[in-house]
Symmetry: C2
């Protein structure tokens, strides 16, 4: 196990001096994991980075670069001499290459594609043709394929030859002469089979495949559900495009959760790690929502004008405004986050939507009744007249029920309309619920206190 510290940074820097021993450098690099090396690299000067990448084996350099953001990868590749850059590029995993190319300007991509081995170029172009965030755009061509008609021995021989690039060894995909997927053999069965057995006899034809155009989120759900390590991606015509592996899925699941959490907190998601995001870009992502919610809130606040006369007669009513609208907002926030998460995890489907709304309505009624009791006790404790206490209780039970229902309905309706349900964040629900809360409050005040 390794961990980065200042001592290692100094050690590495010393080994990058022109007169240092290259053996000692290799030894250090060999002991490190590529991820650790990528962290260490950030402490180096531009020249030191170039020297390091040109000195170490291209396979290790490639693995190290894979831990960096695409644009950083490109910057490093551009700084290197042509031969090293070509070498490293050809050692990058195919899904990394596709992600890198997708992030670049088409002209930059074209230049880099020409560095790839010809056979690989076509495959990469193929993967680049799929829409962003589709299963196809994530697929890797670094899988092991066997031809229908091969024996177990021929397949193992092929594996020994091409295995170095492969991302997954557990499954070997059997393709026909048109490149269509006909079956999968597990490596275990391959090793255990008699060398002369045709692969067709030991392969399973009961396949779970994913269409290349499918959204990556759905691909992630399938892989996680079926507990698979990799899943073949096929095109409309049935041709095998590549594989999606469980570690791609891991990244997607983290990304999607981050996106949802940011949206639920009422700001546009960040695309880069927190400390690497420019303060101006964070500002832009937040000011939009903040202003939108302000305008919505401003309209809400206008409701109070209509009750100026009620307020004038009974200033004490003002004291409860923040409390009541916050409670409504909290109940709405609880519901919407729960429902949205259940939708994202696939626990709730389209057919459950009415059920969910009814369930939350009942839950809201129960919570509202409980809060009404708390509210009554509290306002009597503060020696408010009982008509104020009744007004507050009546408002709470109504408002919490309405808020819970809205908190459930808004993401559900949004989803029906094709919107990301996480857009119906707590702040948004709060704003809607505030307006209702004020109306409910003052109507009850009029009714109960006869103002």
């Amino acid at each position: 196990m390794t961990a980065i510290d200042q001592k290692m940074v100094e050690q590495l820097k010393a080994l990058l001096e022109p007169d240092a021993s290259s053996d000692a450098l290799f030894e250090l690099v060999d002991e490190l994991q590529p991820y650790d090396l990528s962290l260490l690299m950030q402490e180096l000067s531009r020249d030191q980075k170039i020297f390091l990448l040109q000195s170490i084996p291209p396979a290790i350099a490639a693995e190290t670069l894979e831990h960096l953001e695409p644009l950083e990868q490109y910057r490093h590749l551009s700084n290197l001499n042509h031969n090293t850059a070509v070498d490293i590029l050809n050692h990058l995993s195919s899904d990394n290459i596709v992600q890198l190319f997708a992030a670049l300007h088409p002209r930059q991509t074209e230049r880099l594609i020409s560095f790839l081995e010809p056979e690989f170029q076509a495959k990469v172009r193929d993967l680049l043709s799929f829409p962003e965030n589709s299963a196809g755009s994530l697929a890797s061509v670094d899988y092991i394929a066997a031809r229908q008609g091969w024996t177990a021995e021929q397949t193992l021989e092929h594996l020994r030859k091409v295995g170095e690039r492969a991302e997954v060894y557990k499954y070997i995909y059997v393709l026909d002469s048109l490149g269509e997927l006909t079956g999968v053999v597990s490596l275990r069965n391959l090793i255990m089979a008699d060398p002369l057995t045709p692969v067709e006899e030991i392969m399973t034809t009961n396949l779970i495949t994913i269409d290349a155009e499918t959204d990556q989120e759905e691909a992630a759900q399938m892989l996680s559900r079926y507990d698979l390590e990799a899943m073949p991606v096929v095109s409309d015509s049935g041709r095998m495009v590549g594989i999606i592996t469980i570690d791609d899925i891991l990244d997607i699941i983290e990304e999607e959760a981050t996106e949802d959490i940011h949206l639920l907190g009422g700001s546009q998601p960040l695309d880069t790690p927190y400390l690497q995001s420019g303060i101006l870009s964070v500002f832009r992502k937040r000011i939009l929502w903040l202003s939108l919610l302000f305008v919505a809130g401003a309209i809400t606040s206008n409701i109070l004008r209509h009750y100026e006369e009620v307020l004038g007669q009974m200033i004490a009513l003002t004291f409860f405004i923040p409390l009541l609208i916050d409670t409504g907002g909290n109940a709405g926030a609880q519901t919407c986050t729960t429902v949205i998460r259940a939708m994202v995890l696939g626990d709730v489907g389209f057919k459950d939507f009415l059920k969910v709304i009814f369930r939350e309505m009942h839950l809201g009624l129960a919570l509202g009744a409980a809060m009404a009791a708390v509210g009554f006790a509290w306002s009597r404790l503060l020696q408010n007249p009982s008509n104020i206490a009744f007004t507050i209780s009546a408002t709470l039970v109504t408002l919490v029920t309405v808020s819970s229902t809205i908190g459930a309905a808004m993401p559900v309706i949004g989803k029906k309309l094709g919107l990301d349900p996480a857009v119906f964040s707590a702040p948004m629900i709060t704003t809607v619920v505030d307006a209702l809360g004020l109306i409910i409050y003052f109507q009850f005040a009029r009714l109960i206190m006869g103002i």
Copy 2:
């Protein structure tokens, strides 16, 4: 690819009739994925479920049960006849068995442990001894181990013998006679090596291991960071306890994100999928926070009493209360969700905490200034006197700065105190910020309008 529909349910039910053909049942089960079978099972009666589990091969029955919650697994196992139950239990993966046993009453666990093969019993007891949510409690003993001193051929021979249970084939772990991990061989190197090569010569000794007592969240971060498919878990004494695989990590990452999202929405996280959670348990998880926040909000609202005289002179000030406190709450929510997520993802470490707080303070100032401009324009548009517009602008710039700072500081301080930062959710920040918002507002009102 399969998908569940009503037709399949009917087909399965027909095949479970006493006079149906068992061949046809096997054929159907063979075509289905265990996950799909677990979904279909939910549509069956108790007797049909028992009949199904007793009819199909125990390996498939075990894989199907693994898709259910632990307590459901136990219920099914208890309903089966003894021999079938023993058979299925011995086919469950070792990490599933540990999770199942950990969820049961110790007496139930003891009974089931006695069903296991003796050699396996000791390993399971070992895993059960680690604290909940530790790497050790997640570990699986279904890995392939080679003895130091074996040749490549001997190791492959062993793999053919024990491989059926293995979860991971990519790595073979080399242990010394004390059970201590000395190296790892990749299956590819094993296959490619000369059969007589000692494994010691082709193994790597540069290992990433994880301590059995480490928290599962940290284990997840390590595996994801280093892009590994599996990681060996070792005890204090260096003995190999098991492996953690990437699919365990997937579940943890989803669980943790769900937990954070629920906490950030201001309720205790659900432990079960949404529709399977009892309405009473959801009620309990929400009412706690709702009441807590109500009491905090009630104290906040009391601040307004101190400004009764100001309010009496200028009712118009009331109209802006919801707008201002919501904006403060929104700014705080944006900051705290972003900071908390960055902490969870490890983008922000202890050493960055002051940096984060300063950054958010500056960001808050910029956002506050922008919102002050919006607020000024808005209140002038509504033909409020300019002293009200100035009060609102001054409040906005101060409040948004303060809220952003608090939104960043609360999770950071919480983390220092050893609390889950997600507890400092948007609703909680909102409540704190409300109090400050009211004080700031009325102090500016007094100052600017001379009330």
